[in-house]
Amino acid sequence: MRITQQAMSYQALQRLQNRLDQLAQAQASLGSGKRIHKPSDDPSAMNRSMSLRGLQAASDQAARNASDGLLWTSLADSKLQTLLDRLHRARELAVRSGSVTNDAEREAFAAELRSIREEAIAIANSKIGDRALFAGTADGDAVSADGTAYLGDEGVVERRVGPNDVVRVNVLGSEVFGFDDGRDLFSVLDDLTTHIASGDSAGVQTSISEIDDSMDRILSALAELGAATNRIEAAQRRNADEKLSLQDRLSQVESVDVAEAIMQLQLQQVAYEATLGALARSIQPSLIDFLR
């Protein structure tokens, strides 16, 4: 093929352009640390990257849901534990009241029981944020201030703690405090106070067994909460593992292998310099240089 100076410089410039383009690409990928900057860089990797990012967002949210759920179960758990303690005390007072004979001491027992009842009402009306812990999804208090009525609803509070893993995190005041069974804890305590104050030992016996029933209900609620807590904690561990694995997969799809990128950059740089050298040598001389 016939070659001319113009053709040679055209070709040399094109080669130089290609080299420079590859050098710029190598630099860009190393600089950003990313292998794909736009969908056309690798369409199937982009698809995977977007789907992994979606899963990551869902998993982040599941982690937030789980910690929010734990807040619910642990708060309910500690509140109900306290309540259980108070009921133990109430039962103890009830048992001991059988051997008490003077009115002043009975009155002291009754006074303590009344304060236990107040405390129980306060516990029943515990808040989590701006809402009642035991009122389902209703607004306001779970139990009326005098302890005679359940004000909440049957609303279930659930948290999605993982893919297809929804955990119920609340227990309802209506169940825990016995409103559903017709013998609520607060009237039980009320009756017990009356029986002790009046020295009605048969009544006290009935109340003791009713307090046992109440404690059973609280214990079963605690068991439910414990199970929920366990499930949430297991989900949290799974979620943490999954987060790592998602991060790993995402970086496999998106990130540049730094060692390889550095080598690429070096190679491209050498090639670019070699092209420059060849160009400088080849376009310089012509016959003119050798004619006198």
Binding site: G54, A58, T137, S286
Partner: protein, 450 residues
Amino acid sequence: MADFLSLHTALSGILAARAGVETTSHNVANAHSTGYTRQRVTQLSREYGHQTSYGTIGTGTTIDGISRARNEFLDMRVRAGLGLAAGLDVRASLLGRVEEALAEPELGIGAALADTWNAFEELSLSPTDPAARRNVIATLQALTTRINTVAESWNRVASDAQVSIQQDIGEVNRLLQEVAGLNEAIRRSSGLATPNDLYDRRDLALDRLAALIGATSREMEDGTVKVSVGGLTLVQGDRASEISWNADDLTIGHVSGVDVQPGGAIAEYQRFLAEDLAARQATFDQFVTHLVETLNSRHNAGTYGPGQSGADLFDPAATAFTLTLLVTDPYELAASGDPFATHDGGNAASLAALREEPVPGDGRTLDQIWREIVTDIGVSARTALDAASAQAGLQSAAELARMGAHGVSIDEEMVALIEYQHAYQASARVMTAVDELLDQLITRTGLVGR
């Protein structure tokens, strides 16, 4: 008599050498002119000789003409490729802009969707929290803005393509006029001498026409070229016909009433507007319709405040470009699935569950639909880029071959220059020799016995 003839013979050599030097200097001067074809003096021995009784003595040289080293086949090859390469470049850059507008994977609609699901789920955790409600409105607004922005950028790509095609059609019309004018000039002057430099200018115009609209040309007997596009003749002799762009129905009109079927860059602009972009806008609008329908119906199912049903979140008749968020008051977000439960977040959770639920009648989730749109655009852009760079490689080989055949080689010109210089010197020497012979005859003869 014969001696005088030799003087003329030498003179013809001198004249030919001079023409050779002049042509060479023209070549050297134009070594880097665009579209220049190197020229050569074609020299022949003079055909009528001096008859003598012992035979015919030649009478020197004659300049047959100045030829142009043009190879029609290489021209055809380059022009066929020019149209393809220009078209693929246009396609790659337009699709590149379409995908750039997506801003995936970090700042695109995909991320905005994920944020939206998370915001709804966050709202389900604390349905009465004003911050969570405001956050939902903010993410919905961000999603709306991103969808609007993509649609708007695509519209801008379309209007830019319209402007480019308009400019290109203008240039095509100007070039067609130029070719017709050059045709006329060439036909008028070709009786006298070959107008090489006019040919060069016409070839340059034909190259540009091939790139712009895929024009093909055929040289006629009178030296003019006939230019046609897609079988429609646009230049014949000194007459060129105008073409015009109809922006509304995306066709190219011609006086004959037949639409021009273009090639080259213009064809790809046209195809992009009529097919590529239109199809993508349609799938994008379809995605937006799905989004609006599913979110609206979910939101309608929920309640807010004391038992009020959720209104439409988005304008139900919206396209991607016109999408607007209708519910902007955080209070009106229907987070509750139970009209009588203030703290219920059931509907917010069910809105968030759209993250994983297939769209009715489609079978894919919204995230999946969007991912497929992005992947489809990515694949098209990738294919266009690969095709463009493959064609650029082929094109540069064809261009190089043509440049090699047509271009000026300085070395070659220097050799020619020395050859012509020597020829000139030799002819001058012949003239001197003849002059001396004559001198002998005139001044030294006839002196016998003096």
